[in-house]
């Protein structure tokens, strides 16, 4: 961002809720079915049909509200948002307008400049429209499987200042939704969708300038790129003495640019009014209590605990807590360590972040499907930590642990891989090596110190890889000093 300017950004996030049935009828919500299969007269908008509220929509919205520090409205109502589009069967969307179920909350994000709270203006309930498919040659096609899928819309305050903050905020919202078990959080499949309101102003100004709305942000990377582009575009306009127009912009990932979708004049007048087919929604203390009880430890909270409890660096803690399953696996593994030191806990993290995550991405599986249990991984860390085997050997035996339930100890025993750390055995070995390599020892004495590594390697080789490298090192050093000292 050009210095002297500041961006003011607010995000509107739509999250599809993982209820069994749709918001106002009993059709299933499963993704990926044949087009127009999960439909009934109600979500097809046939004459005479009426909506009946799915109570889980309310429960999930309340859970998200509580998790984002919102006030929960005791009595709220539904409204109709009226507009015509071929994939909107009733010609209106049942939504909430003036009295959203959750309001006035906040979430914490971590930015480059430290922690920051982003306000949540409101969270409201609504139903999804169907899907128009334009990219086929034949014609525009409409799939109404999505019609009536329950959504919540989470609207932030204009507290976000950079494209990266917007990215962090969206990550946080996604993580919370997923941790609460109410949304898949999949931007690509559209179970999470994001629009951004962006304006820029001179640093120090307090008024808000005209904003534009950026749509079609269908990946986390695109959110950051599109907002960054839009900020630069608006600054360039201001630099040239032009005014930013109130417009809806469409992000085109192909060209990496935002394009005008519609101007203010073309904006819809949604003619909101109270939905006469539904009664108001009442949230009582019983529901609040129940939903509060269903909120698990959330992302940042968990990350900070991991840093404190396991002594992990922020980087490790962030990755491990980004995914509930991963976090759970990590904690199980640490629990299973025979001796839980900070070093051992960090080693568990290293194994997950490197070997296991590679396995996960190669095989496209989750941590539980990698075929190595948390206790098995702990056994592997145990034997490295207590010096039974080297890290190198550990890496070699890991593949044999996948898909079995053997522990590292069992493998070592079976194959006689145990490291030799006995000093007298190693002293003998070292003496042998120094004798055979007298020439190298001579050169080392004359100053070619890098030959030390060579000599250690020779000793390890002579042991067939079973000698404990650090014991070899210290004994080798001792032996050479004696010789030098002579």
């Amino acid at each position: 961002m050009k210095s002297g300017y500041e961006a003011v950004i607010g995000l509107e996030v739509h999250a599809q809720l993982k209820t069994e049935s749709k918001a106002f009828c009993s059709c299933p919500t499963v993704y990926g079915a044949q087009p127009n299969v999960n439909v009934c007269p109600i979500c097809l908008g046939h004459p005479g049909t009426l909506p009946v509220l799915n109570e889980n929509l309310v429960a999930f919205a309340v859970r998200m509200g509580l998790a984002t520090n919102c006030s929960i409205r005791e009595h709220s109502t539904f409204s109709r948002k009226n507009y015509f589009y071929p994939d909107l069967p009733k010609g209106y969307q049942i939504s909430q307008y003036s009295d959203p179920i959750c309001y006035n909350g906040w979430v914490e994000i971590e930015t480059d400049a430290g922690e920051k709270n982003i306000g949540i203006t409101r969270i409201h309930m609504e139903e999804d429209a169907g899907k128009s498919i334009h990219d086929l040659d034949i014609d525009t096609l409409v799939d109404l499987n999505r019609s009536g899928i329950p959504l919540i819309e989470i609207v932030s305050e204009p507290d976000i200042r950079t494209a990266h903050e917007a990215y962090q905020y969206l990550l946080g919202i996604r993580q919370t939704l997923v941790f609460l078990g109410i949304c898949d959080g999949n931007l690509e499949e559209g179970s999470l969708r994001c629009d951004a309101n962006v304006s820029v102003r001179k640093k120090g100004d307090t008024h808000l300038n005209t904003k534009s709305e950026v749509k079609n942000l269908n990946s986390f990377r695109n959110v950051e790129k599109a907002i960054g582009y839009e900020i630069d575009r608006q600054i360039a306009l201001m630099e040239d003495g032009n005014e930013v127009q109130h417009q809806t912009m469409m992000w085109d990932a192909g060209s990496g640019k935002t394009k005008v979708m519609r101007s203010k004049e073309e904006a819809h007048d949604y003619r909101y009014f109270a939905e006469p087919d539904l009664l108001g929604v009442t949230v009582d203390s019983v529901m609040i209590e129940k939903q509060t009880g269903l909120i698990p430890e959330l992302g940042l909270q968990k990350k900070r605990r991991f840093m404190l409890e396991y002594g992990l660096p922020a980087y490790d803690a962030a990755i491990l807590t980004d995914d509930v399953q991963l976090a759970l696996y990590y904690e199980e593994a640490c629990q299973a360590l025979s001796e839980r030191s900070e070093e051992a806990c960090k080693m568990v993290s290293n194994w997950i972040l490197t070997e296991l995550m590679r396995e996960m991405s190669e095989k496209k599986v989750n941590i539980r499907e990698t075929g190595i249990g948390a206790a098995q991984l702990a056994s592997l860390v145990d034997v490295v930590a207590n010096g039974s085997i080297s890290h190198k050997v550990a890496k070699e035996i890991l593949p044999d642990m996948f898909g079995s339930d053997v522990t590292a100890q069992q493998i070592i025993k079976e194959r006689g891989l145990e490291q030799v750390s006995d000093e007298s055995t190693i002293k003998e070995l070292v003496a042998q090596v120094l004798l055979v390599n007298a020439e190298s020892v001579e050169k080392l004495k004359q100053g070619k110190t890098n030959l030390f590594g060579f000599l250690v390697g020779q000793a390890l080789k002579a042991s067939g890889g079973s000698a404990n490298p650090s014991v070899v090192c210290s004994i080798m050093k001792e032996a050479l000093e004696m010789e030098v000292g002579e």
Binding site: P41, P47, L50, Y272
Partner: protein
């Protein structure tokens, strides 16, 4: 309901009558499976397994869904549409043994007071075929008035059952909002719409109401206490019918408190309607009723409030008729065909009301119209609630005039709308109301008078209507 002939014979008779009265244009679709349905009814009767409404012939307004029978709502826009499900009322009546014999003609989407806005042409009044039958449930009123069916279902958003009942000389009952499920009734104005009944007597009316008054989980506005209350008594607020001294009184109408309108509220009424109104009140006094004049402070707000709320809701409810999934489709393009299909499929009155409703909901006008109408609605409801603490029943005309000639008012929309003055308030307040046939005018056209009562006193209202009928007949 004539029990001396078989149901199969009754159905042949019905089909003959349909043919004979085809000039009335009361029906849009006749059920094609009546023979087999009648046979089942006859078998059940023979086996002693007759259900409460076994073989009762019911005509159903064509905005109520019957699976497999085309649904038109009197409009071109639903061209060829076959519903996939039964309305809750249709399920309940069928389960009770009633036969859904036909779908009746109606004003397009129930918008009209004369049945002249139907895409299928006007319905004619059996008392004078040059006159309108009233609307919007004109076909249902005529089906009962001409003796073609035992009873009929209609929908009443601002008088669409009571007004045609008055014009055709039959009973027309709009129950309390929430007592009869709206599931399957094509919405005109959801917060005002109520399915109701046409009949030739109160016994039939009560029998049908007993079956269809039921809580329905598919209609969120259906009331949990919707079911018919057998214990409800004529004297709305007491279980035993006695006077102040506790002595049994044999006159069923004794001590019923009746509200009457001050003369100024009857200014626009035909003299013969005023005479009938006064005669009914006189009779009620003689039967022991306490009749007193009541204040209706906001009567001038009834019509504007009604037309703002009804058209606003209609503009949204009728948005689904877009030619995308069913019905009339004209033109192409990704969304241009929506405009073309609607322009072609809707009639003038429907377009007029959609435009008005769109206007009153538009940003910049919402507060001045829709919001104000919502506030007026609350005041009207409150005024009614207050009034019903002092009277049990409010008596008023159903219509300012008797049936008018076809074509008489079609050019004067406002005068047509104003003729709904006495009926719209019951929908605004959600209260039950019934139109009772009460003699005829000099031209031989029926006069209808109306009784209204507090919410959920439908049973009492039917009882009072029954007593007045007895008096009128003597």
């Amino acid at each position: 309901m004539n029990a001396s002939i078989s149901i199969s014979e009754k159905i042949s008779e019905f089909l003959k009558n349909v043919e004979q009265h085809s000039d009335l244009n009361a029906f849009i679709t006749i059920n094609s499976e009546l023979d087999s349905l009648a046979a089942i009814s006859d078998e059940r009767i023979a086996a002693g397994l007759a259900r409460p409404l076994e073989g009762v012939t019911v005509a159903v307004k064509d905005n109520i869904s019957i699976k497999g029978m085309q649904l038109t709502c009197g409009s071109k826009i639903l061209n060829g549409f076959q519903p996939l499900y039964n309305a809750t009322v249709v399920e309940l009546l069928t389960d009770a043994g009633a036969l859904m014999v036909a779908k009746t003609n109606m004003d397009e989407f129930a918008m009209g007071s004369s049945n002249e806005t139907s895409y299928f042409g006007p319905v004619r009044n059996p008392h004078n075929k040059q006159c309108v039958p009233g609307g919007s449930s004109g076909g249902s009123a005529v089906a009962v008035a001409a003796g073609i069916c035992d009873v009929a279902l209609g929908s009443d958003t601002g008088g669409s059952i009571r007004q045609p009942a008055a014009f055709c000389g039959v009973y027309g009952f709009k129950p309390t909002y929430g007592r009869v499920s709206r599931y399957g009734l094509t919405a005109f104005a959801s917060s005002l719409d109520q399915i109701g009944i046409f009949s030739n007597n109160i016994t039939d009316m009560r029998n049908v109401f007993r079956v269809i008054a039921k809580h329905d989980k598919f209609d969120s506005t259906s009331h949990v206490n919707a079911a018919f209350n057998e214990d409800a008594n004529t004297n709305g607020n007491a279980n035993t019918n006695g006077n102040a001294n506790g002595n049994a009184n044999t006159e069923p109408l004794a001590e019923i408190r009746v509200g009457k309108l001050a003369e100024k509220y009857l200014v626009g009424c035909a003299p013969e309607i005023i005479s009938a109104y006064n005669a009914m009140l006189q009779d009620m006094v003689q039967r022991g009723c306490v009749v007193e004049e009541v204040l209706l402070p906001n009567i001038e707000t009834w019509i504007p409030t009604y037309f703002i709320l009804a058209t606003a809701e209609a503009s949204s409810n009728l948005a689904r008729f877009d030619g995308v999934r069913y019905g009339n489709r004209v033109g192409d393009g990704t969304s241009d065909f929506i405009t073309d299909s609607r322009t072609d499929g809707f009639g003038e009155e429907v377009k007029r009301r959609i435009m008005l409703g769109t206007y009153v909901l538009s940003s910049g006008y919402y507060d001045a119209y829709y919001k104000k109408a919502q506030q007026a609605r609350r005041l009207i409801s409150n005024a009614y609630a207050t009034m019903f603490t002092t009277v049990d029943v409010l008596a008023l005309p159903t219509t300012p005039t008797t049936a008018f000639p076809i074509g008489d008012k079609t050019a004067d929309v406002v005068s047509m709308w104003l003729s709904d003055l006495y009926t719209v308030s019951a929908n605004i307040a959600g209260i039950p109301a019934i139109s009772i046939p009460y003699g005829k005018d000099g031209k031989g056209l029926p006069i209808g008078l109306q009784l209204q009562s507090a919410m959920f006193t439908d049973e009492m209202l039917l009882d009072v209507a029954e007593q007045i009928t007895l008096a009128c007949a003597t």
